[in-house]
């Protein structure tokens, strides 16, 4: 099923931070949303999630840092059960164990509160919650920027493996073209609240058409971390 949104826009204190934007996302597609800081990537991601959610589509969102996703006063068990209830799912320890195994957090103590786990494990827990309802679209907003490069690469590998062959499409928001290039089929470059360029990954990297894409492409070598 193709997910499509039209006319998404956003403004903050009178200034337009996202110009009307339309987007189609195919089943299982991997898209990278790149651009400089302040170009409107996260705004587009949030607007996309909120719009699709409001229309009853199954989407999940992973924010940049686990601090933006987990309540420090509540146990991880509580988070998991709460999300199950919110999605209208019955408690299913087998499904949970499957996702946890895939992300290699099946050894963690769920009675602990988030800060009882390492940040890398917290972030993988947040990704696990996002995967729980097998959403049609998973929006990852700089999902690994709070992690060290080795843990980040590992996390992305595990996620890739879990999603491969499935129906879940992925939108990876990042300023790191190196990270995006290796993991997505299609790149969308944002500039000044607008989509500047939207093309298959190789096309965009080899022949960028716009100044924004050219500047990102030119800097990708020293930007690329081992992930």
């Amino acid at each position: 099923m193709t997910l499509s949104v039209t006319g998404l826009s956003a403004s903050r204190s009178g200034r337009t931070i996202l110009h009307p934007t339309s987007l189609n996302i195919e089943t299982g597609e991997r898209i990278g949303l790149v651009g400089a800081s302040g170009s409107g990537k996260s705004t587009l991601g949030n607007a996309l999630v909120d719009d699709l959610r409001a229309r009853g589509q199954s989407v999940a969102h992973v924010p940049q840092s686990p601090d933006e996703a987990l309540d420090p006063l509540r146990s991880l068990n509580f988070h998991w059960a709460e999300t199950e209830r919110a999605l209208g799912l019955a408690a299913d320890p087998v499904r949970r164990q499957g996702i946890f195994k895939a992300l290699r957090i099946d050894g963690g103590d769920l009675r602990k509160r988030p800060w009882g786990w390492s940040r890398g494990m917290q972030q993988r827990f947040v990704i696990a919650m996002a995967l729980m309802g097998a959403p049609d679209l998973l929006v990852l907003d700089e999902p690994t920027s709070a992690l060290d490069p080795v843990v980040a690469a590992r996390t992305m590998d595990l996620l890739d493996e879990h999603l491969s062959g499935g129906r879940t499409a992925m939108l990876l928001i990042t300023h790191d073209l190196g990270l995006a290039a290796r993991r997505v089929d299609r790149l969308i470059v944002m500039d000044d609240g607008k989509i500047a360029e939207d093309a298959p990954t190789q096309t965009l990297l080899n022949a960028p058409q716009t100044p924004a894409a050219r500047s990102l492409s030119a800097h990708r070598n020293w930007l690329s971390l081992p992930c």
Binding site: R53, E68, D71, P72, L73, R74, E82, T83
Partner: protein, 312 residues
């Protein structure tokens, strides 16, 4: 956890011992002749110096400070608060009789305060900056600015004098407690409303809440399971201070409404320099504070164990 509890109890014991020593020292060094004050309170007249000296010996006032302190604190550790210097009767039954009036009054004031402030604060925090919110904050600020003795007099004027609905003076029937409890409760409600409101607003700004909404958690569940616990931390913190206000307010309200209780017990004991009575009240208040603060500490550790870990 056991270790933390031990630490908290040790701290409580140190506070109690310090309070006992400090009050004793303050009374011991207060200006004026305590033996004379006791004599006047007992005989209602100035009598011969021989009798005053006799009372000085009887009340242990001729001994040194440390001897007197030890002979006072020793029996207390075994639960004996001694006898009144004036009447010679044991302090504890009289203290219990006074507390029998004050404790229900304070609890009623607290209950009124909670019942009024929680809905008002939640209502005000729903739309911060709206006229409802501004009105609630204005009422709360006004309430916090009005001293209990003035509010008490206003309530007497309105409900007892003009409308003649309620009795004002004494403590003969439960209806006599309504105006005093209301006086206390309105003061408590005023300060609690502001604190609960700002606690809710601060909790609402927590960075993780948008993610919960995107996960499909209902606003009701977010309010109950995430905003309320975060808002509870500052509210519980002021609760200990609120208790001080309640005790102080209860004493004042008892004087305004001519009610028996710890207020008149304490005032008459101070006037007569009845050391055992004054010290018993102070120790009781200190004990109450220590217990409440202990409970608050335990509550903190339950709701957010990081608080305990930072201390360690």
């Amino acid at each position: 956890m056991t270790q933390a509890l031990f630490g908290l109890l040790l701290r409580a014991a140190v506070v109690l011992a310090g309070t006992a020593l400090a009050t004793f020292a303050l009374l011991w060094n207060a200006p004026g002749d305590p033996a004379l004050a006791i004599t006047i309170a007992r005989y209602h007249s100035v009598v011969s110096p021989e009798i005053i000296d006799k009372i000085r010996v009887e009340a242990g006032l001729n001994a040194g400070f440390w001897t007197a302190f030890q002979s006072w604190i020793g029996p207390i550790l075994q639960g004996d608060f001694g006898n009144s210097s004036v009447s010679g009767r044991p302090v504890l039954p009289e203290l219990a009789a006074a507390a029998f009036y004050t404790v229900p009054l304070a609890l009623a004031g607290l209950a009124i305060g909670l019942v009024l402030s929680i809905p008002l604060a939640i209502f005000a925090a729903k739309r911060p900056g709206s006229w409802i919110d501004r009105g609630a904050v204005a009422i709360a600020s006004l309430g916090a600015a009005i001293p209990a003795y003035w509010l008490g007099l206003l309530l007497i004027l309105l409900f007892a004098v003009n409308l003649a609905w309620l009795p004002a003076m004494g403590a003969r029937t439960p209806a006599h407690a309504i105006l005093p409890a209301l006086t206390l409760g309105l003061g408590v409600a005023a300060s609690l409303t502001r604190i609960i409101r700002s606690g809710i607003l601060e909790a609402r700004g927590q960075p993780f809440l948008p993610a919960f909404r995107r996960r499909g958690v209902s606003d009701k569940a977010i309010g109950r399971d995430h905003i309320a616990p975060h808002a509870a931390i500052p509210v519980v913190t002021v609760f200990g201070l609120e208790l001080a206000f309640l005790l102080e307010g209860a004493v004042m309200v008892e004087v305004i409404f001519a009610r028996p209780g710890l207020g008149s017990f304490l005032v008459s004991a101070i006037e007569a320099r009845d050391f055992p009575k004054v010290q018993a009240v102070v120790l009781l208040a200190a004990l109450l504070f220590v217990i409440v603060n202990l409970l608050i500490d335990l509550f903190y550790r339950m709701i957010d164990p990081r608080i305990g870990e930072r201390d360690a």
